[in-house]
Amino acid sequence: MEIIITDHVVRIVVVAPQDRVDAFSAGELRERLDQLLAEGTSMLVIDLGNVPFLDSAGLAVLVSALKRARQANGDVKLVWPKEEAARRILRLTRFDRVFSMADTAEAAISSF
């Protein structure tokens, strides 16, 4: 009996901005994500844990990464920011329903 066994390595990339993500800095985050997506990465974790402030330009970057990843049959998962006020904004905009959310990057990785 022939049994074919193949190994698959799925690459999941965690992107963890460490500063404010706003209309000024969001472009840099978008470029990084676009680069990863262009290279074929479609499983992304965006770890917002240490992001102290996130405006709607930051939210826009998250959504556009999600759309591109899903088109490539991948996904973008988010790690909740530690900043409580920022968590509430993700709830207010229902981002916590559109994205799958995790408390840590490890939890996000193992949920793929």
Binding site: D22, A23, A60, E84
Partner: protein, 146 residues
């Protein structure tokens, strides 16, 4: 960019920044420090964040939309801490283009979208938002009850 309030107001701070995304964070720094001097707030950190976000959204829109394609302009912001009633009043003025705010649709929260959260957030986070378009002197009046 003259303001309505007399220059002597003891609880008013005025700040005037270039209409550039680079320096809008400075407004957030002001607001954070202002809040650190207001005692007895419930959840001061959250309230401060929410005001910072609202002001950021208004000003980022001014940079991206009101001044779009125009020569470099300025944004004049004033913060007034009122005691009775207890509230923070924020007035934002620009000399860019005005627009019809009633024509802006609400975001559809059922599906994530790339644009359209800015004004929604301001309305949700502040207690008052009044936009007075006026050719070369547009005015946003925001109030947060404390």
């Amino acid at each position: 960019m003259e303001s309505d309030e007399p220059m002597s107001e003891e609880h008013t701070i005025r700040i005037d920044v270039p209409a550039s995304h680079r320096y809008l964070n400075v407004l957030g720094g002001c607001i954070a420090e202002l809040f650190s001097r207001i005692d007895g707030l419930h959840e001061p950190q959250v309230v401060s964040y929410n005001v910072q976000l609202a002001v950021q959204e208004i000003c980022a829109n001014i940079v991206s939309h009101a001044y779009q394609g125009l020569a470099p302009g300025r944004i004049a912001v004033s913060f007034t801490v009122d005691q009775a009633p207890r509230r923070l009043v924020v007035d934002v003025r620009d000399t860019g283009r005005s627009f019809d705010i009633d024509a802006v649709p609400e975001p559809n929260l059922e599906e994530a979208q790339i644009h359209g959260y800015g004004l929604f957030l301001v309305r949700q986070l502040m207690d008052e938002m009044v936009y007075t378009p006026q050719g070369n002197n547009n005015h946003w009046h925001l109030v947060k009850n404390l």
